[in-house]
């Protein structure tokens, strides 16, 4: 990249008493990039976004956003950033239009002056501009919050979990809106607990319990999955799952959509031999109708393989036999 990066973070760490919310996080985000932090609740996404938005001081490490230090240059940065917090951040008793007018006035501008910037999104809300924000559906609230974050023409958008709790269709629409915004050259940093949304980003960081597990393009991340992955189809999924938990050669087995996903501990064995072995094992355990076939790993498979144990548990209990 010829331009300097939009965000550079080095060793960012934040503790809340005994809890380490963010542990030595380092990354760099290019100008104009659509960058995603993908991870569950408690991963440290919100802490990270608050630090980048100059709202929270890190205990250690540093970060530069648009060339400015997030601790020293906060007043410069705040005018250049658009930040959409995770929880619904609008005034529920104000109308759609009043909310937007308020956020514009805080930044010394008006809806009319900035109309071109927000028009592609605001035009969808305008028919309901007199409606109170509290009466909007989930997807519409998110669009309004995005308008409010955009109204002062920021150079960089920080969107903390904009699609959480929003249905699958509205989520898609929201990502379509982001893809459009990206074409204007805006740098967009977004976080989400939905693994399938990773594919809408240029690059993603997988994050869990304050640790960044991987940073790369979605394609490169799934390509890094280190062993053959199998999808197992069986009418009685629950029984098949239980049987495979006791299979000595199992490395991992877990439900995945309408199938079970399985990896074998014998890394050197060719995939067709593994598939045959697993079918034979299931057959011996009274499951004669299972179909085992190789499948492509998704971001979620990669996340599961890399995340280790869920909170408070040993990995052995999590996906192993």
């Amino acid at each position: 990249m010829s331009e300097s990066p939009a965000v550079v973070a080095q060793g960012l760490t934040k503790r809340y008493e005994a809890t380490v919310a963010l542990d030595d996080a380092s990354f760099s985000i290019g100008t104009g990039e659509l960058f995603g932090f993908i991870g569950p609740d408690g991963a440290g996404k919100t802490t990270l976004f608050r630090i980048l938005a100059t709202l929270l001081l890190p205990d250690a490490g540093q970060a530069h956003v648009l060339g400015s230090d997030v601790v020293k240059d906060l007043w410069t940065l705040r005018r250049q950033l658009g930040y959409m917090p995770g929880r619904f951040s609008l005034y529920p008793d104000l109308s759609v239009e009043e909310n937007l007018r308020f956020f514009a006035s805080v930044f010394g501008t008006t809806i009319e002056r900035e109309y071109a910037q927000i028009a592609p999104i605001y035009s969808q809300l305008e028919p309901f501009k007199a409606r109170r924000a509290s009466a909007l559906s989930g997807g519409m609230k998110q669009k309004l919050a995005l308008c409010c974050a955009l109204v002062h023409r920021p150079q960089l958008l920080l969107l903390d979990e904009p699609t959480t709790g929003v249905d699958a269709v509205s989520r898609r629409e929201f990502w379509d809106v982001l893809a459009n915004l990206k074409t204007t050259g805006l740098t967009i940093v977004v976080s989400t607990p939905y693994m399938d949304e990773a594919n809408r980003c240029d690059r993603v960081a997988l994050i869990q319990r304050g640790h960044i597990l991987a940073i790369d393009t979605p394609t490169a991340i799934t390509a890094s999955f280190d062993r053959p992955l199998f999808a197992i189809r069986a009418p009685d999924r629950y029984r098949t799952l239980r049987a495979l938990r006791d299979y000595a050669n199992a490395n991992s087995v877990y439900p995945f959509g309408e199938t079970l996903h399985f990896t074998d501990a014998r890394a050197s064995l060719p995939p067709d031999a593994i598939a045959r072995d697993v079918e034979a094992y299931l057959n011996d355990h009274g499951i004669s109708d299972a179909k085992v076939s190789p499948t492509e790993p998704t971001i979620e498979d990669t996340f599961i393989a890399r995340m280790g144990a869920p909170e408070g548990e040993e990995r052995e209990h999590a996906v192993h036999g």
Partner: protein
């Protein structure tokens, strides 16, 4: 019919001129895991409030665990459990105090509460956190605990409203194993979710669009009939035209 846990016929609810739930008809069999899907504002929450005896229907009828939703709301409340991510356990109470509170609400004796609490914590492997305040335990544990507490009075049906929202992919799967176990033990499960892969884990699903049920069946059937590869695809196809109507205005 004894083997039906839920039976709804033309169930309808209007708010003024707005029809939130529009003549929905469906059955849920005993021991089934039934996925109740729909876009935000499609009417799921209103339908669930009617089925749990919290909101009177404007039209149609429904029985839950054999009780009429209009006249036998109190009987329904004894026979169902309810859990959501937003409201489940009291954060400031310990695990034990939460169990005692819920047990008390459902009229269990102290001996029953003690016995069931021990069984439950042993099954989840969580004995050592009995005296911990709920806010101090990990989200994944909290959700498993919340489901177990919702099952404490041995309801015939349990309603799970987005139970896995925000948890990591492994914990989400462990939670679904708990759902399978619950159903295997004979409790009927009605579950809502925004994770479309979880829809595939259900025995049958329904998809609500603008107050009506637009699709219902096993995930495999629905995909075959629509010629799609995933429930996600089907969901988007059904809900997209109505999405202009996500401005139907209801909050979900």
């Amino acid at each position: 019919m004894a083997d039906l846990a839920i039976q709804a016929k033309d169930l309808t609810r209007t708010f003024g001129s707005f029809t939130a739930v529009d003549h929905i008809t469906f059955d849920v069999r005993a021991g089934e895991v039934f996925g109740f899907l729909g876009a935000n504002g499609a009417g799921k929450t209103t339908a669930i409030r009617m089925l749990t005896g919290l909101l009177a229907p404007s039209g149609g009828e429904a029985t839950v665990a054999g009780h009429d939703v209009r006249r036998e709301g109190e009987a329904i409340k004894r026979d169902i459990g309810y859990m959501s991510q937003r409201f489940s356990l009291y954060d400031d109470l310990t695990v034990r105090e939460n169990v005692q509170l819920y047990g008390g609400i459902y009229d269990l004796s102290n001996a029953e509460i003690r016995e069931r609490m021990q069984q439950m914590l042993a099954r989840l492997g969580l004995e050592r956190i009995e005296r911990e305040p709920v806010h101090a335990i990990p989200l994944g544990w909290k959700q498993k605990l919340a489901l177990s507490v919702a099952l404490l009075h041995r309801p015939r049906i349990v309603f799970l409203d987005e139970p896995t929202s925000g948890v990591d992919p492994i914990t989400r799967r462990q939670f679904w194993e708990l759902i399978y176990e619950t159903a295997h033990a004979g409790t009927t499960v009605l579950v809502t979710t925004h994770y479309m892969d979880e829809a595939e884990y259900c025995d049958r699903i329904s998809i609500m669009v603008a107050g009506r049920i637009d699709a219902m069946g096993t995930p495999a059937e629905l995909k075959r009939n629509a010629g799609v590869d995933s429930i996600d695809e089907l969901f988007v196809r059904l809900a997209r035209p109505a999405n202009g109507g996500s401005e139907r205005g209801t909050r979900t």
